[in-house]
Amino acid sequence: MELPSLAVWKFTSCDGCQLTLLDCEDELLELAGRVRISHFLEVSGVVEPGPHDVSIVEGSVTTEDEVERIRSIRAQSRVLVVVGACATSGGIQALRNFGDVAEFRSVVYADPSLIESLATSTPISAHVEVDYELRGCPIDRRQLLEVLSAFLVGREPDLPDTSVCTECKRRGLTCVAVADGTPCLGPVTHAGCGALCPAVNRGCYGCFGPMTGANVPALIPLLRRCGMDDGEVDRVFRTFNAAAPEWA
């Protein structure tokens, strides 16, 4: 039986999301027996030509070259799964969208003219149609396995588009906003992490980006009441999903 092919691609990113695949220590070898890895530079120099049954794409689009590359990957991929805050909203590097890239370049590099990059960092969906999105900075391991196991049986993956609060409560955690007065973005943030931050007495800082229909204006007074000033409120949304439309 011909195994389905799996390709992993990197755009502008930190590698953390694709590393998540290698972090599936218990499942990795089984997975390697269920799919044919056709492109995954981080683990193998074996590179097969497309088409690929599933492509996992990490990272945002920040160069002309990447604009072209994502189109060709889409054309070669049956199912395109984009993973992580970079790929789904532009990532932390999308902070440049609000600033001046030329000036950013000059801060980091002595000779900025040698550095090629676009003025904006954009999500993959701004360039091509995507089939599934995994949120998070980084993505959640179980969600990645869910997408892969669902693909292998032909099921729809279960990726609830709901608040972090629902996960927080299912875990039986005590709400840090209500019980401690700690500012928390959980009520407007897309579920998937399993409420990691509230589990360590920290308010969610929104690394999974906005859930559909996030009522951000209703959260602001709460953040203020929990002691954030205007600057802090602005900054807390301007991090790993800064360019997500609901938060920008």
Binding site: V153, G154, R155, E156
Partner: protein, 274 residues
């Protein structure tokens, strides 16, 4: 016999008949245990291993615990069910929900109006009426489909049409080459078909807007409110009223529906996003 309400009962696909490009009818036979007998309008939860479970109406009720379902492939689960080949084992729970009140129509006219896949849940009601033909006066079936190739049960439609004692009206939104029948929405024939309005029981099944328009047309022609039954659709996951997904106002549609009397349904259907 299954004791746990969540435990599916294994059924094997005995036959599969392709109805349209995206619909197929499965004949399921119990592998061992049988489910209680379904009534027209009721539904089952059909489970495809590993893929999921969805509500599907009974579309024929032969004897011997055999179940017949017609499935339109729209998403992952319905696609998996739709493509189940003879020999495959599916899980079935049911019967669930309310049935068409075929008894109430006795002695009067029976009008069945189906849109698209909506013909599937109405077929057992029509079969029942034909089996008890003398209990009803005029029996009319109005069927609407997007195109002629989207019509379910075409042989059967032709058979019913050939019968003297049932009027069959078929209309399509978009005609295709060779189509000589009606073109237009189902409400149009409703406005003109012969009807003994006050003695009519109408059963409607199709998209909600279609049912609303049909109901309005029928009421306009003098069919009494309580003479109309509709089959409503909501997200359903348990079938037993414990998951909460199928609520429509006061109704738990898996329990209080899918078949609902129009006087109950109308005020609910009119509220946006209820």
């Amino acid at each position: 016999m299954a004791t746990d309400p969540w435990l599916p009962v294994a059924h094997r696909v005995r036959r599969r008949r392709v109805e349209t490009k995206d619909s197929a009818t499965l004949v399921l036979a119990p592998v061992a245990d049988r489910l209680p007998v379904f009534r027209p309008g009721q539904f089952a939860m059909l489970y495809a291993h590993g893929i999921g479970e969805v509500p599907i109406s009974i579309s024929d009720i032969p004897a011997g615990g055999v179940l017949v379902h017609t499935i339109r492939a729209v998403g992952a689960v319905s696609r998996a069910l739709h493509s189940a080949e003879p020999g495959a084992v599916l899980g079935v729970r049911g019967p669930f929900g309310t049935a068409w009140d075929v008894d109430r129509a006795e002695g009067g006219d029976l009008l069945l109006v189906a849109g698209g896949i909506g013909l599937a849940p109405l077929r057992p009601a029509l079969r029942h009426a034909l089996e008890h033909r003398s209990s009803y006066r005029r029996v009319t079936l109005v069927v609407g489909a997007r195109t002629p190739s989207d019509l379910l049960y075409d042989d059967e439609l032709r058979h019913w049409d050939s019968l003297a004692d049932v009027d069959v009206v078929v209309t399509v939104d978009h005609a295709a080459d060779g189509w000589t029948g009606r073109v237009g929405v189902v409400t149009e024939p409703l406005a003109s078909i012969p009807l003994d309005a006050t003695r009519t029981t109408a059963m409607l099944c199709g998209p909600e807007p279609m049912m609303r328009y049909c109901a309005r047309t029928l009421l306009g022609r003098g069919v009494p409110d309580e003479g109309v039954q509709v089959s409503l659709e909501r997200n359903m996951q348990c079938g037993t009223g414990v998951c909460g997904h199928c609520q429509l106002g006061p109704l738990l549609l898996c329990r209080d529906g899918p078949v609902v009397d129009l006087p109950v349904a109308t005020p609910l259907m009119l509220v946006k996003e209820l």
